[in-house]
């Protein structure tokens, strides 16, 4: 049954994956080949736009798309546990998010490897972008699990990004003076609670990275299980 589920999701989502790879891989290729701006700027632009956009595209379709098309009851009628269906959808959506970022990384390594920046900087940047995309994907899936249309699911994802950005701005204004200068571990740990807190970790604080990963992996897991309980509801009643 896994194979059939994977095949179904691949057929439905492959165009999004192809779109992301072509758009962002092409952007990186053109920008890095022509060098009209610094390599770091090209890559950062590709990641800043690519991560949230692909997460938004990938989160719209799996659940809300089934509701909008009216195929959700048929899907739930299959002799397979709903959590397995959700798992396959989540994994395929994750692939849709990550494949374009991988395309950008590949282009950057081939065209601009060690030219203006080091390979480790490239890998770190892409790792952070991939983590952000996965977080946004899981949050959007969880909060948009009962959205009736793809447009509404997309609005949920946009609202999440906006809330994160605004709250991070406030977080930076309030905590930054203490984070940077005091070295207070408790304050730094508090900063790791925010999904974007990783962008404000002072250098050489590996424990803060580990804490951030642990916190948000736990949150994402909890959200996923919460979504697994909720997504089967059909118009106000559980399936």
């Amino acid at each position: 049954m896994w194979r059939q589920l994977i095949w179904k999701e691949w057929r439905e989502q492959r165009w999004r994956l192809a779109f992301g790879c072509v758009l962002f891989g092409g952007f990186a290729l053109i920008g890095l080949s022509t060098r009209m701006m610094p390599d770091a700027d090209v890559i950062i632009l590709a990641l800043i736009f690519g991560a949230p956009l692909m997460a938004l595209l990938a989160s719209m379709a799996p659940l809300a798309g089934e509701r909008e098309e009216g195929t959700l009851p048929m899907l739930l009628a299959l002799p397979v546990a709903p959590w397995k269906i959700l798992l396959v959808k989540t994994l395929m959506a994750a692939a849709v998010c990550l494949a374009p970022l991988a395309a950008v990384l590949l282009v950057a390594l081939v065209v601009a490897g060690n030219r203006e920046g080091t390979t480790s900087e490239l890998l770190l940047g892409h790792g952070l972008a991939a983590a952000f995309a996965l977080m946004l994907l899981v949050w959007s899936l969880a909060l948009g699990a009962r959205m009736a249309t793809e447009a509404r699911a997309a609005l949920v994802a946009i609202a999440i990004v906006a809330l994160w950005a605004i709250s991070f701005y406030v977080h930076v204004l309030v905590l930054y003076p203490f984070l940077r200068d005091s070295g207070n571990r408790a304050l730094l740990a508090l900063g790791m609670v925010h999904p974007l807190g990783v962008f404000y970790i002072p250098a050489e604080t590996l424990w803060a990275f580990a804490l951030w990963i642990a916190v948000h992996a736990t949150v994402m897991t909890a959200l996923w299980f919460w979504a697994a309980r909720r997504w089967t509801r059909l118009g106000g009643r559980a399936a």
């Binding site: 779109f19 072509v22 009209m36």
Partner: protein, 674 residues
């Protein structure tokens, strides 16, 4: 007629909320910034400070109109195109005794009037406000000034009409508001930005009218003369000035926009008549938007691409230095020379910096740096104080570095219009130090020559040029509030360890024109520098000008210059007639709309053989190389992207390699084929 009126009434009822929203955004919200203004003050600058509220209103209204006007046109157009076009409502309308053409036309005109009134009325209101207020204010300029608004208010209306027409066409074709809106926004972005990226479409480039072409200074007037000045301004406007922004570009733009709008309207009526429909789905929209984005980016990238490589690109940190340094000046010959450095974290010209120097040699892909030589502190020029970063070096005396030390006080003058201006700083001390580069440690002061003139009034902004066996120092001589002369000190270096001032040459101010744009031709007298041929004197003049932000270059054969707006490059023929030089324009190459949008040429230039090199501040600062082998048609040949930086010094070596300073030292390979 009655039916048309009924249709228009009905469309007004549908569109009035858009009009109210537009006027609220563009008229009411900016007015929040209005503050009580005292209309008279003995201090002209106090009046301008109190007029900040007016300036704020103008800036906000103009920005909103330009940015949100297109969005309003999209929303109104899509609404007009999609409304009543689906299902039974559409059938109902088609069954009414009104023709499809009149129905669509009424809808089109009502929506267009909504958009134009909502955007143009606030602009014209601000225009009237500025007409009254500008004579009291001490500043006018930019797109948010009276003359600026007049330049683009009508072209802006034509642009919005085009965007509205496209949005309505898409609404009629797609018939789904969300999809049509997305496509209409993409179309609007193409209308705004494609003419910038594709030069043949430059006629449709709306941003030309947003530039600041009419930065007419407005004299500060007492209030009693304000009314007369306002009336004079109204009377002075011609028909073209009132309606067309007084430019031929405006005519061409509006003709093109009107033609496209008419074609779009015809297509809309045809598609409605024939029930044409484009069925959009998410996949089609996403791929379309992605394709357009990639196309625009590729067009932009291939115009601005970098096609020069660096032989060497390295941070500069001399032995013993505790941190990286910034290269602020380069003196080089072959593969060796001297770098002038400062702290990489401090921005010169705005902060006090400590300058140092270091000898360098480039060997293959390696940069060898000598120990740092302290030169001294330099304060920002507008504060007065000390200046220590001006040096000269040449390969003829590789072990000697000549440093111009100054101490000056800032002086301000008041002109006849009551405006303050500064000629830089009045010199209190000026001396030339000879530093030994071969001493241990390097930088030992071998000799100090006092250069202070016997009469006061010598002002700074003093470039230092070393040419042959002579040093030349130039500066304005100001007494009272007038520029009396331009003084050039000539220092002989026959004895490298004991420079001697051998001549003081004073020239009338107009003998040393401070030109920015040379125009078609220009004849100027040459400075009476001793023992130099006319060509050599001209070379000194150009070199001294190059040190004061006038990036001209002359190789003894061809002269090239960068315009005052730093957006074009021109070539000139130079001929000598007795004691004068005649400079005639040969060719010019203006930046494309995209190039001028993303950057300007900098302060350094050089000409070698068939190429003219100019530093460029763009998305990525660097060097632009122009092929001037055909002087009548300079063309862009190459570009090197140095990365994010500013104010980069440049030297072109005889073998074609380019040395570029800044955050790093770049050694750029010669232009291929050069």
């Amino acid at each position: 007629m009655k039916r048309v009126c009924m249709l228009l009434w009905r469309e007004w009822r549908e569109n009035r909320w858009f009009l109210y929203a537009g006027l609220l955004l563009l008229l009411i919200i900016p007015a929040v910034g209005l503050r009580p203004v005292p209309l008279s003050s003995p201090d002209p600058y106090a009046a301008s400070n109190h007029m900040v509220g007016v300036r704020q209103i103008a800036d906000i209204t103009c920005a909103f109109a330009v940015i949100l006007g297109g969005l309003l046109a999209v929303v109104v157009g899509v609404a007009a195109g999609c409304r009543d076009m689906r299902g039974r409502v559409s059938d109902f309308w088609r069954s009414r005794p009104v023709t499809l053409g009149s129905w669509l036309s009424a809808r089109y005109l009502a929506g267009l009037a909504t958009v134009l009134v909502a955007t143009s009325v606030p602009l014209l209101a601000v225009w009237v406000l500025l007409l009254v207020a500008e004579p009291i204010m001490n500043y006018s300029g930019g797109y948010a000034c009276a003359n600026g608004i007049l330049a683009y208010v009508v072209p802006h209306a034509a642009l919005l009409a085009l965007i509205y027409s496209l949005a309505m066409l898409l609404g009629v074709l797609v018939r789904r508001p969300s999809h049509a809106a997305i496509l209409a926004i993409a179309a609007a972005l193409m209308v705004y930005f494609l003419p910038i990226l594709v030069p043949p479409l430059g006629t449709l480039n709306f941003w030309n009218f947003i530039e600041n072409p009419r930065d007419t200074p407005v004299a500060v007037l007492p209030v009693r003369e304000t009314a007369k000045a306002v009336l004079d301004r109204f009377r002075g406007l011609t028909f073209r000035g009132w309606f067309l922004g007084a430019s031929d570009d405006g005519l061409a733009f509006m003709a093109a926009a009107a033609g496209l709008s008419a074609a779009t309207l015809a297509a809309m009526v045809l598609s409605a008549r024939r029930q044409w429909r484009v069925r959009m789905n998410q996949k089609l929209i996403v791929w379309s938007l992605g394709g357009v984005t990639l196309l625009l980016f590729a067009t932009m990238a291939f115009q601005l691409r970098s096609n020069l490589d660096a032989q060497l690109r390295t941070p500069v940190q001399p032995p013993g230095a505790e941190a990286r340094r910034r290269v602020v000046d380069i003196h080089a010959s072959a593969s060796r020379g001297v770098l002038v450095l400062c702290d990489n974290e401090v921005m010169p010209f705005q902060n006090t910096v400590f300058y140092t120097a270091a000898a360098f040699e480039i060997s293959g892909d390696q940069l060898k740096l000598g120990p740092e030589i302290p030169l001294g502190e330099e304060e920002p020029w507008y504060q007065g104080g000390r200046a220590a970063g001006t040096v000269a070096w040449s390969a003829r005396r590789p072990d000697r570095l000549y440093q111009l030390l100054r101490r000056y006080e800032k002086v301000e003058h008041i002109d006849a219009n009551g405006r303050k201006w500064s000629a830089g700083g009045k010199c209190l001390e000026m001396s030339l130090r000879t530093l030994a580069l071969d001493s241990n440690p390097p930088g030992r002061v071998v000799h100090t020559l006092d250069l202070m003139p016997h009469d006061d009034g010598f002002h700074c902004f003093t470039p230092l040029v070393l040419m042959g066996d002579r040093l030349y120092v130039r500066g304005p001589l100001i007494k009272g509030d007038h520029l009396r002369s331009v003084r050039c000190l000539v220092i002989d270096l026959a004895d490298a360890n004991r420079p001697q001032r051998i001549a003081t040459v004073d020239m009338a101010p107009d003998a040393w024109p401070d030109w920015y744009d040379l125009g078609p031709s220009l004849t100027i007298p040459l400075p009476e520098l001793p023992d130099l041929s006319p060509q050599e004197r001209f070379a000194v003049m150009i070199a001294l000008r190059g040190k004061t932000d006038h990036p001209d270059a002359w190789d003894g054969n061809l002269m090239a210059s960068i315009s005052g707006d730093r957006a074009s490059v021109a070539t000139h023929r130079v001929t000598f007639e007795g004691n004068a030089v005649h400079i005639a324009l040969l060719g010019e190459r203006r930046s494309t709309p995209l190039e001028s949008r993303v950057g300007r040429f900098g302060d350094c230039s050089a000409i070698r053989g068939r190429y003219f090199y100019a530093t460029t501040h763009s998305l990525s600062t660097g060097v632009t190389v122009f092929d001037v082998s055909d002087p009548t048609r300079p063309r862009r040949a190459a570009f090197y992207a140095a990365g994010p930086d500013w104010s980069m010094p440049m030297v072109v070596l005889d073998d074609g390699r380019i040395l570029l300073g800044g955050n790093e030292l770049h050694v750029i390979k010669p232009v291929p084929g050069g």
